[in-house]
């Protein structure tokens, strides 16, 4: 069970004045159960790339394999693919439309052919996972707060039981508390269900704590691909493309520049504290 992207190119509005070469020769392999952060500046092609992964956008050239099968193959069922690769768009709360929360979350499973009871069961489960209790089920999605709406929308995709969950900037426009809650819940979900998660973001700080692997995109190309610590070592190059490493990286690099023998591959405050303690003890 994996996604393999081979030499994928994508050009918007080919042959017009608006032509944009959004993806240039992308090669990626996403194994099962990984928690991936896909980082890039606005317009770097990250949203376009994730839309390829569930077949919403067709590559101008190149191939994509899901579980070893070519998704552009003649008999490949896109519906099947979309039920397995769930994509939560940016500002997903804008896609809510039903009269109450439960029926909105049921929309996905119902489309996949589930019976009403089955769909409701899945919807309740999904709502529980995003931390929305039963008291919300019968409320109109439009009277919820922004953060709650977003969770309901994420539940709408989760209810389809995807094996791969892609979230495009799930924390955009949320306050720090709402952001941490959503990201914590996604992490929990990833551990609980063992699914693959791709988190699209433009903030290293947000994803550094959670992910196993970071893919950095710039101008439609993959610039860096590796474990967070590895990627953050290139913090100067990251700055050049308009991104920044987490603050901890800067702290550690600063200490090292001043002659401290310290491990700079840390991503969170806790790890940084440990590294500093370790260094102080060895002094």
């Amino acid at each position: 069970m994996s996604i393999k992207v081979e030499n994928v190119n994508y050009t918007y509005a080919e042959g017009t004045a608006y032509e944009i070469h959004a993806l240039k020769d992308i090669n990626l392999e996403i194994p099962d159960g990984q928690f991936i952060g896909l980082i890039g500046h606005t317009g770097s092609g990250k949203s376009t790339l994730v839309q390829h992964l569930n077949g919403l956008v067709k590559a101008t050239s190149g191939k994509i394999y899901f579980n070893g099968k070519n998704i552009y193959g003649e008999k490949y069922s896109m519906k099947e693919l979309r039920s397995q690769v769930g994509l939560v768009f940016q500002y997903p709360e804008h896609q809510l439309f039903e009269i109450n929360v439960l029926s909105d979350v049921c929309f996905g499973p119902r489309n996949l052919g589930c019976s009403q009871e089955e769909a409701e069961k899945k919807a309740r489960e999904a709502l529980r996972m995003v931390g929305m209790g039963e008291e919300y089920e019968k409320r109109s999605p439009f009277e919820l707060s922004g953060g709650q709406k977003r969770r309901v929308a994420i539940a709408g995709v989760l209810a389809m039981d995807p094996q791969v969950l892609i979230l495009d900037e799930p924390t955009a426009g949320l306050d720090p508390k709402g952001r941490d809650e959503i990201l914590d819940q996604i992490e929990l979900l990833q551990k609980e269900r063992g699914i693959t998660v791709v988190l699209v973001s433009h903030s290293m700080e947000d994803v550094a704590r959670y992910v196993d692997r970071i893919i950095v995109m710039n101008h439609g190309e993959v610039r860096f691909d590796g474990a967070p610590g590895e990627v953050f070592r290139h913090y100067r190059e990251l700055e050049e493309i308009g991104l920044a490493a987490p603050q901890m990286t800067y702290l550690m690099q600063g200490l090292k520049d001043r002659g401290a023998d310290i491990d700079t591959d840390v991503t969170t405050i806790e790890e940084a504290a440990d590294a500093v303690m370790h260094w102080l003890k060895s002094e």
Binding site: L56, R82, F89, H94, F97, F107, F142, V157, M160
Partner: protein, 275 residues
Amino acid sequence: MIRDITLGQYYPAKSTIHQLDPRVKLVTTVVFIISLFIAKGILGYAIATVFLAMVIRMSKVPFGYMTKGLKAILMILMLTVIFNLFLIDGDIVLWRFGFLRITDKGLRTAVFMAIRLIYLILGSSIMTLTTTPNDLTDGLEKLLGPLKKLHVPVHEIAMMMSIALRFIPILLEETDKIMKAQIARGADFETGNLIQKAKAMVPLLVPLFISAFRRANDLAMAMEARCYHGGDGRTKMKPLHYEHRDRVAYVVVWGYFLVMAVSAWAVSFYGIMML
């Protein structure tokens, strides 16, 4: 898919047509439309074709891009052609099958009607393709200026038009986005009968309406925050004024119209080239 709609979209390029004053382009479009209705016989349409081809050439907008807008009127076009073709009585019957028949007059009217419709769309899309919505409404406001004396809210009309035009691409993009989001949730907009298809539109239309209202609210708020209170006493950062090329364009346009008028008169007076 949805990006194919070109009507009302601006196509950035550097050309003489792009640089013309929007008032010139508005007047030209109106004159061109009128000229299509007074055109008579092959001669009239030939002149219109030459004029249109010249303008398209000068505008540097790819022809293929322009004709995409025609897809939208394909149905109307076909209906017009079919009705005219079969229902107009003429002197010579060219073809007959049961109650259906095609006459010389019917054929001529159908062909000319089709040409007229196509030219109407092409002519007006050149205007919108080469003029930014803001320029267009500026031009309209200035042209309609004299109506202010009759208490016509010219500025407000122009403002509404510019907002409406500005929102076309935004709402198209939004539609595209919501459609994709719902497809990702397994929605199916393509298969099924008419009722199923109409039902499938609900998950698209509800969010779209909500977002349109939200955007309208935000925009109104932003405008009020900048003390917008209508057109009274409002000045422009870049007031419109005619350049040399605009005067030349006016001469060309009115010259074209004169030629059309004379040719139409000549055709109806002498009956030359009447086909």
